[in-house]
Amino acid sequence: MLAVRARGNDAYGVTVQQTIEASASRRVTLGAVYSALERLERKQLVRSRMGGGEAKQGGRRKRLFRLTSLGIDTLASARDARDVLWGLAEVNDG
């Protein structure tokens, strides 16, 4: 989801895969990306539309994803929860 958000208006299979690969520094197949996006779409956290064709895709149209408002909220609350937990962990460490 973060990857979709990070790519803004240009989130589709390849960009999402590249983002994940870059941030997690491990190889990810296209299929894994697709099924993750499918799951998110089923949960209505992202939605997709067909974008225009591009030369680098050989003129084929691509499927663009973006977060729904539910997805944005979910992401924010996940972040909050993580922050709270980090805060607690740091208090413990300190």
Partner: protein, 930 residues
């Protein structure tokens, strides 16, 4: 696309073609291409190609990939099945007569089974609504002359001794039904209640929803003025007033404190109970008769045992006012009541009974007259429902037969249908439908039929259960607890599934075994076509046999019922009005006040237009006497016989004029008349059965007998037996005494409620308003508990046999119809299949009679074989009905004969129609078609 295809490495493209859903291939190929170029820059062409292939393979698990082989197969099978269902649905709609017959058959069979199973489940199987109900047991004291008088409970001395020194029960309680008039409400109300030991609520483990139950000392004199209300009574009479606890209530002549309100649904011992009051546990040495207890049989000094009986039944709950306080004669009398307890851990009813019998042997006053008493301990559920277990199981058997017949019938219909459709099936097989798909199609058809039949059946069950509950046969306990619960629904579904299996697999088997060549060659159907007709004949025969068994059962029950209703009751029940009235104890404290009221009442009523006679009695002629006394009689010519055993007889106190009013005249001697005054010599009239039981002589006029209180009665007349109608209407051994000469001990017991009988010229109910007005005029405090015609009450008393007889008759008619449909369907197809043979025979000059005879022989042959099997089966099965039959043997040849004739007539009708059709076959038309 041609330019772009070149940029995806060939192996990856090859994989994508195979693994990617064509609808998404564009998107996927675009992504794979872009990624490939990014990777070429990062890792070189070979590794990028390797990764492109891995990407392509990874697609197969996602929504973009093609479904896997197993997924595809499952989906395909499902789609095929949906298609089969649609086809089957259309085919069923195209043959409405077949579909409707099958659906009605299914609906009735499933509906009837669900209703009866619901009743059996709710009444017999589901546990009583108490905590650990299996430990609650009922005590019964047996022995002496009262052994055959039916259940009546146990003596208080047994109860007290057992509670004190026994170990089998954790707790024991005694209770006794009563009813009383509440006068502190806006208008007087008669309520049914029960006097109970305070421990009862601990045994049943119920708590009131408001207030508390009785304290342990409530069974001691002086502490017993509490009362608990049922939830229903609280709603009805107190408008669900939450402040009712702590207020008082005038019940009979006593003021009682309302201690609590019991929860809704708490109905002990039955749903008619509206209040509970404490029962005293100890009795003073010279006790006063607590006439509240309707089964308190005080034993008179002579060692005679007297037992008041429940006055329930047709006369309505009419026990005298309970808790009306000490009053009446002094005598040593023993209280009897019902005893219930919670068994101690690890104690079985049999062990408890043994302990009870030991305790009884140690009780002096119980065995002084040489009677050997035993105790019997029965689980409460068994005691409650024991009497209906047999009939209900019988109904379940009957309804099971209906289901079997229905299954056979439906299987037969479907088999016949599959024969008819052989050609269609053959064509389907010929153009490539596998055996699997043919089986699937037939299964789809039966699934549709059973699902629809099941839904209809459930609707029929809901309707039927409502009908049975509203019929409210009150002889079936716990009927109000019955509903179609999930368990019963499960049973219905099981029945449906079994049915689907039975008649789904048979035609499927036929389809699987289909011989293509033969089927296609059998152009229009020939005699060889009825391949499985042997099996179908067997089905029809079994069906007929089952139907005949049901018919015989129904025939026996119906003729038994007819005998019951047509017996001579011994009096004239037509144009007889009955009112059960109750006199307030405060205004009518003694015999004189009662008698003067009765005199006034009879005089007033007889002056009303339309009334030809009126009288008062302690009990109506159609109900058993509510007091039974064991009397030893002896003939004056004989020396006193010390071994003479006392005989239990019913005591009926009557106003003079009673016999005239109910239309009975003396068979010997005279009846009681107005000249039998209190100061005269006490006289009595006996019923014929009473005379024979006491004197061994049908005509003992002039004999004498010893009665309660040292009274010596002269027998002045004998009347013919009056019968109380019912399941076992044995002639009553009764003694009739004039009210005016009643021994002092009987007074309080017999006077408080009275049965008024009025002979009318017009329809009895038309006189009722003026009768009520007359009663009000004399004394508005006198309460009319019930009013009805005697004819109606007599009809009510055979409600139980009527209920069972009509249900079984309905099932039998249903199965007869099904069997007839079975025969008809079978033969119709046989004729249809044999159409070419018949045509050839006709063309060769066979006479119509011969063809008709052939079909008739075939059909009636089946009918006779089935009938014979059914008669033999019935001969053995009907023994189980014996206890439900009245004056008719379970092997009554007449019933068997009548049933056979009826059945053969129906069978002939079912055979005749297809037989006629066979004779109308036009040979030219058939052969030209060939």
């Amino acid at each position: 696309m041609a330019d772009s295809a070149s940029v995806v490495p060939a192996p990856a493209r090859w994989l994508l073609r195979r693994l990617c859903d064509v609808r998404y291939r564009d998107i996927v190929e675009g992504d794979v291409t872009e990624l490939f170029y990014l990777r070429v820059a990062a890792m070189g062409r070979w590794r990028a190609t390797w990764w492109a292939c891995r990407d392509a393979i990874s697609i197969s698990g996602t929504g973009y990939g093609l479904p896997t082989l197993s997924q595809r197969k499952r989906k395909e099978t499902f789609m095929h099945f949906v298609r089969d269902l649609r086809h089957a649905g259309r085919a069923l709609i195209r043959t409405p007569s077949f579909t409707v017959v099958v659906l009605i058959t299914l609906a009735l069979a499933i509906g009837a089974n669900t209703v009866i199973f619901s009743v059996v489940d709710g009444v017999l199987l589901s546990p009583l609504p108490y905590v650990e109900p299996e430990d609650i047991a009922v005590v019964q004291q047996l022995g002496g002359e009262l052994n055959d008088e039916g259940p009546s409970g146990a003596s208080q001395s047994l109860f007290l001794e057992w509670r004190e020194n026994g170990r089998a029960f954790d707790q024991l309680a005694m209770y006794s039904m009563e009813s009383a008039t509440v006068t502190s409400l806006e208008e007087p109300v008669r309520m049914n209640g029960v006097a109970v030991s305070p421990t009862l609520f601990g045994i049943l483990r119920v708590e009131p929803v408001q207030g508390r139950t009785f304290a342990p000392n409530a069974e001691l004199p002086g502490n017993d003025d509490g009362i608990l209300l049922s939830h229903g009574a609280w709603q009805r009479y107190f408008g669900s007033d939450t402040t009712v606890v702590g207020t008082t209530l005038r019940l009979g002549s006593r003021l009682r404190n309302i201690l609590g309100v019991m929860p809704a649904g708490f109905a002990f011992p039955d749903a008619s109970i509206e209040y509970w009051v404490p029962m005293l546990a100890t009795l003073p040495e010279s006790m006063t008769v607590s006439i509240g207890a309707d089964e308190a049989p005080p034993s008179p000094p002579q060692g005679q045992r007297r037992e008041t009986r429940t006055q329930g039944g047709p006369g309505g709950p009419g026990g005298p006012d309970g808790g009306d306080g000490p009053e009446g004669p002094e005598a040593h009398m023993e209280l009897w009541g019902r005893v219930v307890g919670r068994l101690a851990a690890g104690v079985s009813p049999a062990m408890a009974a043994e302990e009870g019998t030991t305790i009884l042997a140690g009780l002096d006053d119980q065995s002084s007259d040489g009677t050997v008493w035993t105790a019997e301990v029965t689980p409460m559920q068994e005691q409650m429902v024991g009497s209906v277990r047999g009939p209900l199981l019988m109904l379940m058997g009957a309804v099971g037969f209906v289901l079997l017949i229905a299954c056979a019938n439906i299987a037969n219909l479907i088999l016949a249908r599959s024969v008819e459709r052989r050609k269609e099936t053959a064509v389907r097989a010929a153009i490539g439908a596998g055996v699997g798909s043919l089986v699937r199609y037939t299964l789809a058809e039966s699934l549709l039929l059973t699902a629809a039949g099941g839904v209809l059946g459930l609707a029929a069950a809901v309707f039927g259960l409502r009908a049975i509950s509203s019929l409210g046969p009150d002889f079936i306990p716990r009927l109000d607890e019955v509903s179609i619960d999930p368990g019963v629904l499960g049973f219905t579904l099981l029945v449906m599934a079994a049915t689907a299996l039975v008649f789904g697999l048979l035609p499927a088997r036929a389809a699987a075994k289909l011989d293509l060549n033969r089927a296609l060659k059998a152009e229009f159907g020939t005699a060889t076509g009825i391949g499985r007709s042997g099996f179908r004949r067997l089905l029809v025969t079994v069906e007929i046999a089952l139907a005949v068994v049901l018919l015989v059962g129904a025939g026996l029950l119906v003729s038994s019922f007819i005998r019951l209703t047509s017996i001579d009751v011994g009096y004239d029940p037509e144009n007889l009005l009955h009112l059960n009235i109750s006199l307030p104890a405060t205004a009518y404290p003694d015999a004189e006040s009662h008698l003067s009221y009765y005199d006034q009442l009879v005089e007033r009523l007889e002056a009303l237009p339309g009334v030809s006679a009126a009288t008062v009695a302690s009990q109506t002629p159609y109900a058993p006497a509510n007091i039974r006394i064991a009397i030893s009689a002896q003939s004056r010519d004989e020396a006193p016989d010390p071994d003479a055993r006392p005989v239990p007889v019913g005591v009926r106190m009557v106003e003079n004029g009673y016999f005239d009013a109910i239309g009975v005249s003396a068979a010997d001697g005279r009846v009681l008349d107005r000249d039998d005054r209190p100061e005269d010599r006490p006289v009595a009239v006996l019923s014929r059965a009473g005379a024979e039981a006491m004197f061994g002589d049908p005509n003992p006029v002039g004999e004498e007998l010893d009665f309660i209180g040292g009274q010596r009665l002269e027998i002045v007349g004998v009347v013919d037996n009056a019968r109380t109608a019912g399941v076992d209407p044995t002639p009553q051994a009764d003694i009739f005494l004039p009210y005016r000469q009643a021994p002092a001990q009987m007074v309080p017991m017999l006077f408080r409620t009275a049965q008024v009988l009025i002979r009318t010229d017009p329809a009895p109910l038309s006189v009722l308003p003026s009768v009520r007005a007359a009663l009000r005029e004399i004394d508005s405090q006198v309460l009319v508990i019930s009013a009805s015609t005697v004819r109606d009450r007599v009809a009510d008393s055979v409600a139980e046999p009527r209920f069972y007889a009509s249900l079984v008759a309905a099932f039998a008619l249903l199965s007869l119809t099904l069997a007839a449909v079975g025969i008809y369907g079978m033969l119709a197809y046989v004729v249809q299949q044999g159409v070419r043979d018949t045509a050839i025979r006709r063309a060769l000059g066979a006479p119509v009679g011969q063809i008709l005879g052939g079909v008739l022989r075939e059909g009636m042959g089946l009918a006779v074989v089935g009938l014979t099997a059914g008669i033999v089966g019935a001969f053995f099965l009907m023994r189980t009905l014996e206890s439900m039959l009245f004056e008719i043997e379970p092997t009554d040849p007449m019933s068997f004969a009548i049933v056979s004739v009826i059945f053969l007539a129906v069978a002939l009708l079912a055979v005749w129609v297809p037989a006629r059709r066979a004779t109308r076959i036009d040979p030219m038309e058939v052969l030209r078609y060939e």
